[in-house]
């Protein structure tokens, strides 16, 4: 049963990612794109966790943690770029 749930979830998250990419491409404004990217990062975290569950290993958890950290910094940098131009000043 868990396996079924797992694959359904993977399907849902993948679908979510696709929808996010759609928004990302659609825009229309830069903040929309960054928001979609940020969400995509979160989806990626979910996918990594799910991969760990499929494989029955926890080896990929740190990758998920890293996505969280990097996604945040990336989003912040992009946000700052959009409103301020210089990311580091």
């Amino acid at each position: 049963m868990m396996t079924a749930a797992l694959y359904i979830t993977i399907g849902m998250v993948t679908l979510a990612a696709v929808l996010n990419v759609c928004r990302l491409i659609k825009g229309p404004d830069a903040p929309d794109r960054v928001l979609a990217l940020d969400t995509l990062y979160v989806n990626a975290i979910a996918l990594i966790i799910l991969l760990g569950l499929v494989l029955g290993t926890r080896l990929y958890l740190e990758a998920a943690l890293l996505i969280a950290v990097m996604g945040f910094v990336g989003t912040v940098a992009m946000g700052k770029y959009l409103k301020r131009g210089s990311v580091i000043e």
Binding site: I10, G11, T14, A17, V18, V21, L24, I25, G27, A30, R33, V34, L37, L40, Y41, A44, L47, I48, L51, L59, Y60, E62, A63, L65, L66, I67, V69, M70, G71, V73, G74, V76, A77, M78, K80, Y81, L82, K83, R84, G85, S86, V87, I88, E89
Partner: protein
Amino acid sequence: MSLPLVVFLPFLGALAAPLFALGGRTAIAIASSVPALIALAVLFPFWETLANGDVVVQSYEWLPTLGLSFSFRLDGLSLLFALLILLIGLLVILYSRYYLKSHENVGKFYALLLCFMGSMLGIVMASNLLLMMIFWELTSLTSFLLISFWTHKQGARRGARMALAVTGGGGLALLAGILIIGNIVGSFELDAVLAAGDQIKAHAMYPVALTLVLLGAFTKSAQFPFHFWLPHAMEAPTPISAYLHSATMVKAGVFLLARLYPALAGTEMWFYMVSFTGMATLLLGAYVAMLKHDLKGLLAYSTVSNLGLITLLFGMGTKLAAIAALFHVINHATFKASLFMAAGIVDHETGTRDMRRINGLWRYMPHTATLAMVAASSMAGVPLLNGFLSKEMFFAESLALNLPGLWGWLPPIVAILAGIFAVAYSARFVHDVFFNGKPVDLPIYPPHEPPRYMKIPVEILVFACIMVGVFPTISVGPLIYAAASATLGEAVPDYELAVFHGFNLPLMMSLIAFFGGLLMYSQRQRFFDFHARFREIDEKAVFEAVVARCVNLANRFTGKIESGSLQRYAMLLVVAVIAMAFLPLTNLGLYIGASGLTPVDWPTAIAAGTLIVSAIITAVMHRERFFALVMLSVVGLVVSLGFARFSAPDLAMTQLSVEVVTIVLLMLALYYMPSWTPLETTTPRRIRDIAIALTAGIGMTLVTLAMLTRPFSSISSFFLEHSKPHGGGTNVVNVILVDFRGFDTLGEISVLAIAALGIYAMLKNTALTPPSGDGQGHPWTRDAHPMMLAQIARPMLPLALMVSVYIFLRGHNMPGGGFIAGLITSVALILQYIASGMVWTEERISFRYHNVIGLGLLFATVCGAGSLVFGYPFLTSTFGHITWPVVGEFEVASAMVFDLGVYLTVIGATLLALVSIGRLSPHSAIKSKKEPV
């Protein structure tokens, strides 16, 4: 050792010459004559041997691979030339003492003169063709430098370059010819080559070799059509003209004909090529000499003509003709050198060489005039002078030549014509300069006799002309004989160097030439008028124009090809790769290999689709730069997910961290750049690029497919096996990085460090004006450091450090390691910069990133070197398990220290790079309006 000494003494003298130059002109002239005198003294004892037709060879090994040796040879031929070189050289040295002015660079002059003398001796005495080649080109080089001695004169520079181009170029042809001969014979030693004449002449490459060798000889000896450089070489100081361009260097070509006579001569090809070239040159030189108003020009073309005569004689291929040629070499050298010196005196004393201005010098310098007149008579072929003798022999040989049919008339007619011209221009030289009214507006007036010692060399040469002319057998007979036997390489036929051979056809020819010449001279104005109808070609201008045109063409061609367009260069590179890999890949046949395809799962397929779409959008929308950047992030994210999906957790983490730092970096740069790319490539260009890109992409797809579907085995089972027991870690990738292939990693962090240092250096003094607002024209927000961000950034740093420690420590056994840990720390610090600004963050960082980089590299290196102490190679790792109370058992591996080095280098390098860019921002220097909270 004595023969090499002869050659090398002048070079030694050349080295010393600048020193003696300090002592004045007399000192250096004396010093310069020493090598020549010693050389003469060294050669003297050989005379007995040589007179018997024997040959002395002294040989030393140099470059056996090449067949090049230091071997020198003294036989009659080389002796004849060596004596010419040394004796006339001595006279020129003496003459130059008075010719040169005290302010001139006499050191350079004598040094080059001696270099030339040595090179010339080298040519004539080398017993190895390659060695001769070396000296051959050296004479071209020294000649170049001597012609351009007065570097401030444009004519001198151009004449010099022209001479170098022609003789140097001919030298290259000669080189090729010699190499071919060497290959045919199997040796470059003269003995072997001269003995292998039949072999050479029978070889298929003989025509090529002969043509190339003759090219060398003809260019050097100014044979038609390469004669044009010689008159322009007369821009050189007159002693140089006398020495190089009449008596010696230009004789190198005919020397070569003589030297290789046994090896190359005696074929029809030789006959036609050499004799016809000689004939053409003989006539052309004589004709033009008549036309020259420049004293030295006249002499120069007369030299061309005489060289043609000698060449023609060698070309005839008969033994007697060859002997006549050798005889004329001596005769021409003596009378022409003396004429040049006389011309030099005239030039020196009047300040001009224009015969239209120089008239009636008999009144001012009768002594010089007398000498010049004797020498000119010899040139004209007046009996009792040496020129007459060899010309007589020439006439005789021209008659003896048996050409088929009407052609038989050609040589004698040419000979007579040339003789007429020779008489005419000699008459002109004498009459125009020393008589013919009064001088016309001379720069130096009144002219008078030169210093005593300046005339001595001329006197000696003129004396020689007379001596040889009157007592040929006594004076040069033995020398000619020795030379002839050396040249012909076999029995010398009977010949007679008599003053008078009776009333015969050659004498008739001489008489015709003499009176015809006088007649021609008297009718010279008609001749000039006749010639004036043709357009005068200034070879120097033509040469310059040709060179300029070549340079121009080359420049334009280079400009076209080396267009400075990166797009083109990159295109070429990509196309080169495609071209190289194309054929093998089309040979692949089936792209799907033995292991076949594995099934696709939907999430992976969707992820792949996302990646493909994102990449394409990145490319299509690249002109909207920020959008492209966001899409690039998606690509990066999916790539790292892909790594995770296909069993590479370490790669996933690394890719992700690197990607974010890269994006930050790109945004830092994008700040200063336009946010839009203008559309500036044409549609065909874009289509071309798309085609190239698609080809590359399809190629990579096929390669990947072919590769992935084929089974393989690698060395990696070793790593999997030894990772834990011998590397002390379960994360095999990490063990490879810090142990099995730790050296790669050392290189890798070096790259990182170098990049950061390079970036820092590059941006040190760079000033960029940041835009005041974004691409849409909105001014930037006031709020540099949003409060919420600053607040969340505070705990991030310590937490990230902790995570770094965690990732670092587990790296040897689990995904992680120094590199990823370093990136986490870096990103946390970057977050501080983003959130609170440069000034705020830098205040809190007490170390220089340079030092962090240095420390990191040092850790890695020292850790690697640690094993050296124990007798193991660099980077040999060790590990052990330690048990502590409470903590329990834990593993300590030396590789961890290495990894710590990686960690530190990554932090230092990443931050140094990013901060260097951040520092460009004007806000970083002045505190922003709103202090960070």
